[in-house]
């Protein structure tokens, strides 16, 4: 068998870089998208508004993963754990301690940031498949931890907790669903803008240096340990906020809502949206929310197989995700402009 001889490896970066100017949509496209997002709830029924809100929330979670993997090159199959902590934090604060739902968001974000930061510390020595395994362990542990007997007074055990849906404030004339939608939209936009700025900042450049070539980055003086754990923290924090919003919107938290399946779905959302391309997060979220439903309507018994086939077709046609589609559109528009 092989001896313990060293094997010299010159690694190509596992996560490919998204050029800086391609990191967001152009201003024209952004305004159109923003307009659509603002106007949509005014013309659809409450249930669709609810789905759109979930779309934004999952988009946030995928965005967080994009920062971690697409930004700093660290794989994570454990985002569902942070989502769960965020969800439960809001649920417990709201139901047991009567904290206003708006306040629970920053608390949840900070708590999850800390949690992510702490998890990032031992994960420093792991990368690639090893890190994936570690985050996988975290994700599988979380539902079990939430079911632990001695935590039951807080977590509600296997049955979970019911969360009260808030009303629109100041007596505004809109349904709860609509209010929550706009509330979520504002937060999502704020986090999106902050994330784009983060990736364009010095810290963002540090992340990307680490992603592209960790050894070289450290040789250039980047504090790799600090930035890697920071990336984990930020990503966990945003995921936690998403989880909190999820708890409020769904009105319910339970351990089995936050299994490894959720983590895998978020991962798929990132790939379909385009790794490291923040605007793609919402496309990815749409994929993971709507395609399984489509698959089930095609064939109840084979819904998993149909989903798998659809997923495969998507990644076969656009291996780089929605970003590839956006680039194609951009190039087509540029060609027409030249004429």
């Amino acid at each position: 068998m092989s001896t313990a001889l060293e094997q010299v490896v010159t690694d190509a970066p596992a996560v490919e870089a998204v050029p800086k100017r391609a990191m967001t949509l152009g201003s024209g496209t952004s305004l159109v998208v923003l307009g659509l997002l603002i106007l949509a709830p005014l013309v659809v029924k409450n249930f669709i508004i609810f789905q759109l809100t979930m779309l934004l929330i999952y988009g946030l979670a995928v965005l967080a993963l994009n920062i971690l993997t697409g930004g700093s090159g660290q794989f994570s199959l454990g985002q569902s754990a942070f989502y769960a902590v965020g969800a439960y934090t809001s649920a417990i604060l709201m139901e047991t301690y009567n904290v206003n739902y708006v306040l629970t968001l920053p608390i949840s974000g900070i708590l999850c940031f800390g949690f992510g930061f702490l998890f990032g510390l031992p994960a420093l020595r792991l990368s690639g498949v090893y890190l994936a395994l570690a985050t996988f362990a975290l994700a599988t542990a979380m539902p079990q931890l939430l079911k632990l007997n001695f935590l039951e007074p807080w977590t509600g055990g296997v049955q979970g907790l019911v969360v009260t849906k808030p009303d629109a404030p100041f007596g505004l004339p809109m349904s709860q669903d609509m209010w929550l939608y706009y509330f979520t939209l504002v937060i999502t936009i704020a986090i999106y803008i902050a994330s784009v700025n983060l990736l364009r900042s010095r810290s963002g450049r540090a992340f990307m240096a680490i992603r592209d070539n960790e050894i070289a980055a450290s040789a250039m003086g980047v504090d790799v340990a600090l930035y890697k754990t920071l990336a984990f923290g930020v990503s966990a924090g945003i995921t936690g906020v998403a989880g909190s919003l999820g708890a409020i919107v769904v009105q319910f938290v339970a351990p089995d809502s936050y299994t490894i399946t959720l983590a895998i779905q978020l991962f798929l959302g990132m790939v379909v949206g385009g790794v490291g391309w923040l605007p793609g997060s919402i496309v990815g979220a749409a994929f993971i929310i709507f395609v399984p439903n489509m698959a089930e309507s095609v064939s109840k018994g084979l819904s998993g197989a149909v989903f798998g086939v659809l997923l495969f077709i998507v990644i076969y046609l656009v291996p780089h995700g929605a970003r590839q589609v956006a680039i194609f559109c951009q190039q087509t528009v540029a060609k027409y402009r030249k004429r």
């Binding site: 313990a4 094997q7 020595r125 991962f267 998993g304 149909v306 989903f307 997923l311 291996p319």
Partner: protein, 292 residues
């Protein structure tokens, strides 16, 4: 002390399952440098096929051989149809491909054979092995077959032309092409072999965990963990890793308070990861020197 030894022995016998799976995992890793998340499902599907053949009246060993042959061909087919087109795609996209395959196979198996648990026969019988209460003859047979496969793989890689070519293709694909090796077919061959080994693993495991579409999920994770622990480049390490994981899992369940069945998996993984933090290439893996 006796409880401790008993737990170790019990761990070794469950560990044989993980060792078997870990061998298939390492096999594919040698060929394609990735872990195939759908490997467990492929093994499960193969096991169902062998079960179906037996339901149709074929004797155990005939079904066994036919299934192995089918799995080999199917592995190559899946690689050619699904993953060769993705070979230029980013790694994360390929991982999404594995997840798609997982979904397809799991769902299909559920539809064809439904989710009720089925009994699966063993050719080794279930009597206590050499009078021991902890290892049955089946488990001893499982360990024996795993070791035989390991030996076979060793000879294949060290002493055959194809084995040498496969090692070269996995180690330095460009150099391998420059000596005339068709690296693309080496990958396909690796898939076929991994599928065949997985089928053997499934057939050996089914009598213990019972046959149903979700039977391999836990096994696969432990198999990955075992392969990683042993060092992804070492089949020998994979087998040792498998036994160690079995032992870890049993000891964790017995000695760590509050750990019921549900937390055994994360605890075992946590233990493995602690080992990796100290020895990043696994126990028997080659230390990877990264050149900037």
């Amino acid at each position: 002390m006796e409880l401790f030894t008993n737990q170790i022995l019990a761990g070794i016998s469950t560990g044989a399952i993980y060792a078997c799976m870990a061998l298939a995992v390492v096999m594919i890793y040698q060929a394609i440098d990735h872990l195939n998340f759908a490997q467990g499902e492929m093994a499960m599907f193969s096991t169902f096929i062998s079960w179906q053949l037996m339901q149709w009246g074929l004797p155990y060993w005939v079904a066994f051989v036919l299934t192995i042959a089918f799995s080999f061909v199917a592995g190559i087919a899946i690689e050619r149809v699904m993953f060769r087109p993705l070979v230029k795609a980013p790694i994360l996209t390929q991982v999404a491909g594995f997840i798609a395959l997982y979904s397809i196979i799991n769902s299909s198996a559920g539809l064809i054979w439904d989710f009720t648990i089925k009994q699966y026969p063993t050719p080794f019988g279930s009597a206590p092995f050499l009078g021991s209460q902890l290892i049955s003859t089946h488990q001893a047979g499982m360990i024996g077959v795993t070791l035989l496969m390991l030996l076979g793989l060793y000879f294949f890689f060290q002493y055959t032309r194809v084995g040498l070519a496969m090692r070269a293709a996995a180690s330095l694909p460009e150099s391998a092409r420059l000596v005339g090796i068709n690296t693309s077919w080496m990958v396909a061959l690796g898939w076929g072999m991994a599928a065949a080994i997985g089928a053997v693993a499934g057939i050996l495991i089914a009598p213990v965990v019972f046959l149903e579409p979700n039977m391999m999920l836990g096994v696969l994770i432990y198999g990955f963990a075992a392969a990683v622990l042993g060092g992804l480049t070492s089949p020998f390490g994979a087998v040792v890793g498998g036994f160690l994981v079995g032992i870890f899992e049993n000891l964790a369940g017995t000695y760590i308070p509050g750990v019921g069945n549900e937390l055994k998996l994360p605890i075992a993984l946590a233990l493995i990861i602690s080992v990796l933090v100290v020895k990043p290439a696994g126990l028997f893996g080659r230390a990877i020197v990264k050149r900037v």
